[in-house]
């Protein structure tokens, strides 16, 4: 039996029931979470790592919280993990830039994010005319992180302003501002594809 959202704490529910409910929730969000992480990280393996870490953290720490809180919590954990991976890449690139055999070669150190492999769309995507998706993902990747986060949580995941604010750890007003600017920027970038 599925546990209804917006219920109280699930502490009294049997563990197996919580696990089933959590499994159902994670199965529902994992595809969208992977897409969000991949747009930010531009790397399949890193995106999968980020999603897996978010799943683990949610299951370990927040499984007994009300089910209604899982979604914003999960996306908050995921976004933190994505940011950690991005910071790690930045540190790695700085360390590589300091290495003597890299410093004297007179060439600019490549940006690891730009260098990350960006796999071509799969056959299913191609069959369904996902050139539009590629353009949208590319435009999203160019947005400032907070704007991208607000847009994806509101637009793809369908969270309302309050849930998005909880997931992003900011105010409702900030969410509205980030979302508005994201839409404006995307419309400017994608005008030729979308009008």
């Amino acid at each position: 039996m599925a546990l209804p959202y917006c219920e109280g704490l699930l502490l009294s529910a049997p563990k197996d029931e919580i696990r089933r409910e959590l499994n159902r929730f994670l199965a529902e969000v994992e595809g969208k979470a992977f897409r969000m992480a991949r747009i930010a990280l531009r790397h399949d393996d890193d995106a999968l790592d980020a999603v897996q870490d978010a799943m683990l953290q949610l299951a370990r720490r927040y499984a007994t919280r009300p089910a209604a809180e899982w979604r914003p919590l999960f996306y908050r954990i995921l976004e933190n993990r994505v940011r950690d991976l991005q910071r790690r890449r930045m540190v790695r690139s700085k360390v590589m830039a300091l290495l003597p055999w890299r410093r004297d070669d007179g060439e600019e150190t490549p940006d690891p994010v730009a260098e990350a492999p960006d796999h071509a769309p799969g056959p299913v995507e191609q069959a369904e005319g996902m050139g539009v998706l590629a353009a949208l993902e590319s435009a999203l990747a160019r947005l400032p992180p907070r704007q991208r986060e607000a847009f994806l949580l509101r637009n793809m995941e369908g969270l309302d302003v309050a849930q998005t604010a909880a997931a992003m750890g900011c105010s409702d007003g900030s969410v509205k501002t980030h979302y508005f600017r994201a839409v404006q920027a995307l419309k400017e970038q994608l005008g030729e594809f979308w009008t």
Partner: protein
């Protein structure tokens, strides 16, 4: 989208494309996500925190015991001073209660003390 916002055509289209992309993942990615989900929900993964505590707690106790032993019996422990007078407390009390003895003890002219004692003895014999 939802009740908070009236989505325009662009937003509806973007939402449709993005949601479709999330459901049209390739088989390998789907399988990896399913494995990740199973790992997150497995009792072993959930019990890991307890396992860590189970091993960390005894290790912490052993470390504390070793540290306490080193502090109490190790080479750095304080040594009794040579001029330790803690054992002569009774003597000190007697000295303080006997005003004459205290004066004598404070006197540095030992020759005078010896002479005074000899005179006393002679006076006693003579008297």
């Amino acid at each position: 989208m939802n009740a908070n916002h009236e989505a325009d055509e662009f937003e509806r289209r973007a939402a449709g494309v993005l949601r479709a992309s999330a459901t049209c993942l390739d088989g390998a990615t789907r399988a990896r996500l399913a494995r990740a989900r199973a790992a997150a929900l497995s009792p072993v993964a959930r019990r890991r925190g307890w396992l860590e505590f189970r091993y960390l707690a005894p290790a912490g106790a052993v470390t504390a015991a070793v540290l306490a032993t080193v502090l109490l019996f190790g080479p750095g422990r304080p040594v009794k001073p040579v001029n330790d007078t803690s054992g002569s407390a009774l003597y000190d009390m007697e000295l303080l209660s006997d005003a004459d003895a205290f004066d004598i003890a404070q006197e540095s002219d030992l020759e005078f003390i010896e002479w005074a004692a000899a005179q006393g003895e002679q006076t006693g014999k003579g008297g």
